[in-house]
């Protein structure tokens, strides 16, 4: 597109100067077609239309462009700004407290696991060994699902068995 425009610009005086412009020295087919057009100010000529492939690329690039996508900066009055800051601070404190509770819960769980293992060790060495054995390659059940806000009517297929699949296939 740029090449066409620049070549048109270069030919500008020629186009204006004579009624039938020459296209000598320009091998571009598109420019040849536009040379016969009657130029009128403000009117779109066909030369501006792009090849469909090029137009598709431009459409793609316009998706990435931040032009008109970035919202304007919010203009707040002083009162609104103070209100926002208070809410923001309260929210961050709330989130921090939640994180603290979560960490404390994990910590107490860890301590309890440790205590239980110690107690088992003092009671029975064999049971302790079996209970604290590393489970290498442990996997969560593949049937486990991330809970949704709209769960299905049947939450868990109680009677489902792995062997059922193979039975069907046979």
């Amino acid at each position: 597109m740029f090449r066409i425009q620049s070549s048109l610009r270069a030919m500008g005086p020629t186009l204006l100067g004579s009624a039938r412009p020459s296209v000598v020295g320009c091998n571009n087919a598109n420019v040849k077609a536009t040379a016969n057009l009657v130029l009128s100010r403000g009117k779109r000529t066909k030369a501006r239309a792009l090849a469909p492939g090029a137009q598709r690329i431009i459409n793609m690039l316009s998706v990435f462009s931040a032009h008109k996508k970035q919202p304007r900066r919010i203009k707040l009055a002083m009162e609104d700004l103070i209100r926002h800051n208070v809410v923001q601070k309260a929210w961050s404190i709330f989130m921090r407290d939640k994180k603290l509770i979560r960490t404390e819960r994990l910590k107490s769980q860890y301590k309890k696991i440790e205590e239980a293992a110690e107690e088992l060790k003092s009671l029975n060495g064999y049971l302790h060994f079996e209970a604290t054995k590393r489970e290498l390659g442990k996997r969560f059940s593949p049937e486990m699902r991330i809970p949704t806000e709209t769960p299905p009517n049947e939450i868990w297929h109680e009677d489902w068995k792995v062997t059922d699949i193979y039975a069907k296939k046979r």
């Binding site: 793609m60 979560r102 442990k138 486990m144």
Partner: protein, 292 residues
Amino acid sequence: MFKRAFHTTVPTAGKPGVSIVHPVHHTVKFKKAQVSERYRELLTPKSSILSAGFRPLVVSPDRVRDHHYNTIQSDLLLINYMHGAEDKKGIKMREWDGSSPYHLNRAPRPPRGRSRATKDIKVRDWSNVPEIVGVSLNCFVPEAKEVSDIAVAAKLQLQQITGVKARTVYSRSNVPTWRLRPGMAMGAKVHLVGRPMNQFLYTLTEIVLPRSKTFTGVSNSAGDTTGNITVGISADDARSFPEIEGNIEQWATTFGFDITIHTTAQVDPDARTLLSAYGFLFKGEEKFPSRM
């Protein structure tokens, strides 16, 4: 150790770019033009609502994050528990003994039989329960070498799927026989954190992978030994992302890409256990490093 340096000013015609305003030198080098009043708005942090780049962070519930904190975290703590565990030191680079004066500045040797050092393994307790911290998608399109527009389509695909602006990746090497030059656009990549990451993860495990006809599971040998697992998505599977499938007629070609899941797990087997809770299935024989 820091060096004192002159701050830089743009040299104007006929004048050197040296400041005569006190203080003339600084411990931190900076561009004087950026201290100008015109750029004061840019100093506002993006977390502030006064910044033009402000985006509210928590605007909707996140079921994946909730699932992690409500269910997975405490289970993983129990699974990874080792009674009486102690910190394990990784295999480190071998220092020279100093018997020769030439040892002074000589680079240390890699560990015996290895090319690089390994990290220390800390005791797995409540403070380091593994979690997913980020997901990065990398789409490399070899055909973009011939037609550079293909890299644009690949970038758009990643952006469409994730909702996060992707970055173009450029070739860095010069291979004349392949007609490859540095600076050619070869694909795109994007790094996801937070809600976009969780959204991508559940789209992947609940919609895309179950519908795939070729995917049989994440390889148990995938991983970079420090808890980051990589899985590849084929070009056909990329079509089953709802964002692509929604207007599939617009997508004449789709591109396969690599998904790297970054976790805080210290070794790969721990990361696999974590990922299995998110619905990833694994295949193949699993190897366990001796240091875990």
